[in-house]
Symmetry: C2
């Protein structure tokens, strides 16, 4: 039984049910789990743990690669099983608990978690739960649809529980590239100089003595929710394609551009689709998440290679891709997230980074995480890793939200995730602001003119001009900078004269 999935025989005796595995946890433990953008997450053990926590007091610290699927985060939050969660999440129930202060949340650059762990800036991991497609003879595991932080969790945890997922085809073997730059003071270079460089091994080594349980599962990843492109996201894509076409014409870039990264969110996916239309060729990708659009670009021949840390696609694409996965195997690689998101590699390769903003201000500072400066949406994710080190850092957003009650271009962002230094281009459906080489006062004019929603343009300009009277490198009227949020709270709209 499982002869093709468990090549180290002694581990067959450690097969257990998820309920049995859940008994291995104790209150206050630090738990790590595989899972990156809903791909390759724990599908059984954490769910069983949530069940158990319904009836017993049991609160853990939970760290992952990035978000989990299957409502696991919500189930854990609902069972009051989480004291601290990091570094990212997208679950509506957990989000609510975080914003109430019931669950503490550390929002973290996704490329940094492993470095922080290895530096002892965090407590030791007691148990890691890692999804695998196969256990090798040496006890190492072949991951599934993501790598995330799993390799380092395996190395750092006291104990490991493997979720062996039979639903993942064995054809994934070979797409993972597990590399570590080591530990201080002896870290080495990450020797990637081309997106398709393979620099590590294809499995994650685990000391077999640490493997305390193997749980068999048979469940696919939660599908990505892909919103169909609409007028507004298509307009954003069009502006961007026009921008890159002009860069090619001016000789700043070739038709292959430079390696692309695209963040999560409906706009990012639409934008990537936009590259199908332009006059581009031999595109390559060095990103975190490989989405539907990545596979469309690969299928069309427009893209030749994509490197990421996870494959997160819709149900339709999941079936299509894994039905004939061999054809992608020389075109994709999945890496640990401290490699996919390494500033070192991002700067070296010269990434074109495209991420989504909740709101931008007139000087080009970006808020990606905090609604009205306080309430966590998802987390900064990898956007900071890419925006800081990119060849070109693009932020896309619609110019307004909630009908037009909220302007996503504001006088001053209510929370800063990305400073103006890390933002080169802002695009809304209204237009594109090319901020390269501009000082803050110049940035303000271009952002207001090109990106703001018409309903808010005049007031933004008025704010900027009155602020200039007071002076400064970055003119502001601090007593007024956040007044738009007050109006929103009181009148339900940021507009000055609610109709």
């Amino acid at each position: 039984m499982y002869a093709d999935r468990i090549l180290r025989e002694e581990l067959i005796s450690r097969i257990m049910t998820s309920e049995e595995a859940a008994q291995l946890f104790k209150d206050k433990m630090v738990v790590a789990s595989s899972g990156f953008t809903k791909a390759g997450d724990s599908k059984a053990v954490l769910a069983a743990l949530a069940e158990r926590a319904k009836t017993e007091p049991l609160k853990i610290t939970l760290m992952t690669g990035a978000s989990l699927g299957h409502g696991t985060d919500g189930a854990l939050a609902e069972a009051d099983a989480l004291s601290l969660r990091l570094p990212f999440q997208v679950d509506p129930i957990l989000r609510k608990a975080i914003n109430k202060g019931e669950v503490l949340f550390i929002d973290q650059h996704l490329g940094e978690t492993v470095t922080l762990l290895k530096s002892n800036h965090f407590p030791k991991i007691n148990i890691a739960v890692l999804e695998a497609s196969r256990i090798e003879a040496d006890g190492s595991i072949i991951p599934t649809t993501s790598v995330g932080n799993s390799a380092s969790f395996a190395a750092l945890a006291d104990q490991v529980i493997i979720e062996l997922n039979l639903a993942v085809p064995l054809s994934v073997c070979g797409i993972h590239d597990i590399f570590s730059a080591g530990e201080y003071p002896n870290r080495c270079e990450i020797p990637i100089v081309s997106v398709d460089d393979r620099v590590g091994r294809n499995s994650i080594y685990i000391n077999p003595k640490k493997i305390v349980g193997v749980v068999i599962t048979n469940k696919t990843d939660s599908p990505a929710e892909i919103a169909a492109p609409d007028a507004s996201t298509s307009a954003i894509a069009r502006h961007l394609v026009r921008f890159f076409s002009a860069e090619v014409e001016q000789g700043n870039l070739t038709k292959s551009l430079l390696p692309l990264q695209a963040g999560i969110g409906k706009v990012a996916n639409a934008v990537l689709h936009g590259f199908m239309d332009g006059d581009f060729e031999n595109l390559i990708m060095y990103s975190e998440v490989l989405q539907d659009s990545t596979f469309d670009l690969l299928d069309s021949g427009k893209m030749t290679f994509a490197s990421g840390s996870s494959i997160t696609v819709s149900e339709e694409y999941y079936l299509k891709i894994f039905h004939d996965f061999e054809k992608y195997k020389d075109k994709i690689v999945l890496r640990p997230q401290e490699i996919s998101n390494a500033g070192e590699v991002i700067r070296r390769l010269g990434i074109i980074a495209i991420n989504t903003a909740l709101e931008c201000d007139i000087y080009g500072n970006v808020n990606s995480t905090h609604v009205a400066g306080t309430n966590m949406m998802n987390g900064i994710g990898g956007s900071g890793d890419f925006a800081r080190n990119a060849y070109l850092s693009v932020f896309v957003t619609q110019s307004s939200a909630k009908g037009d009650a909220i302007s996503r271009i504001v006088p001053m962002v209510s929370h800063v995730d990305h400073t103006e230094h890390d933002v080169d281009v802002i695009v809304t459906e209204q237009g594109l602001a090319d901020l390269r080489g501009l000082a803050p006062r110049q940035r303000a004019k271009v952002i207001i003119e090109n990106c703001a929603h018409p309903d808010y343009k005049a007031e933004l300009l008025d704010y900027y001009e009155r602020a200039c009277v007071r002076g400064g490198q970055t003119p502001h009227l601090l007593e007024e900078a956040f007044s738009w949020y007050g109006r929103l709270r009181e009148n339900g709209t940021m507009k000055k004269f609610a109709d």
Copy 2:
């Protein structure tokens, strides 16, 4: 004449006065100059240019490594000769002009300027003015007390003017290590794995055809203004030394710690001096600026090697160091600032970064640049390069300014240079907040308790508690967050009840 300083004879014929050199510039030109933290700057040509601009309309874009000395920035600003300045400055006259909006200023991560230039995100450089201690037979130059961006300026500029400074002893030859990682899409690794690795050549290559003038100077750098440690900076140093001693005791660090970086400002220098007192050994430095304290540490034997991009010391230390420079030559290296400040190397080596904040907020966001959110002080400098990629990112600041009229711990910083993700430890004379592994709500309590000035503690706590009632990952009362600056403007103090 100059036989030991100009080894390429043809260039002797291009010797000219600074006034003649100043005639080579045209209105609207993009000019680059050597100079990093007042070291190795242009001492004659830019000054002559300022003179010329007094009587003719002449406005240039000026980019440097970092700050210039000798009041050059002020003279240029006063002559109305600057339209755009980047990436850093410290001059009071220029600062005023920037904040009035008379001179545009691009505040930039010091490690990024070269990448942005090579990516064509900025206009082409017409003329570069570079200080040198010697011109080699192939036309390359040995820099003086800084490297800064000079190597890339030499490569990218259409024309180069060399300021050959006879005041700099030829014994500096050999301390520079000029390396470039190349250009997109063919950038390579920066092969530094130890602070004392030498990876490049010891001179800056310049195509001799581009050298349009050689100006002879004989003037030392502007001395660093080093404030003597006082009760408050000494307390900060004491807290930090105690923290690192505890880290050594707990086995997180050895007595050699990890490579140190220290920013500019009086606190940073005092803190470095503090390491003289602790039980440390074989310290090493990977920083931007080598200051008086660096040489004290080297002299005492506590430090074995220091890598930087400039030597910026007081007058007394300048005389002492260059009187017997041979003894430091195997202990220091000066690198281009895109190498000294490379995120790649900083992350790899695991730097302990110590920078100064103008103000911090209760969640650990840091403002290093903008007084009351609007007026530029100096610029972000290299603080972001280091804080983002460090093993440990420390920010030091006194808890108050201007008597105690200003609290440097505020509810929300009026400008964000460093987000909470990039801030691990905050230290004031009141105490130290170790923020590692803490979520925002936990960070707030520790920062208020350990770092705030007693006069502001109660109100900070009151703000935090009332904000928590409203909820959120990062609780805030947006309508009140900046009220402290309003009080300051109106009453001259941030205190609620001015006495």
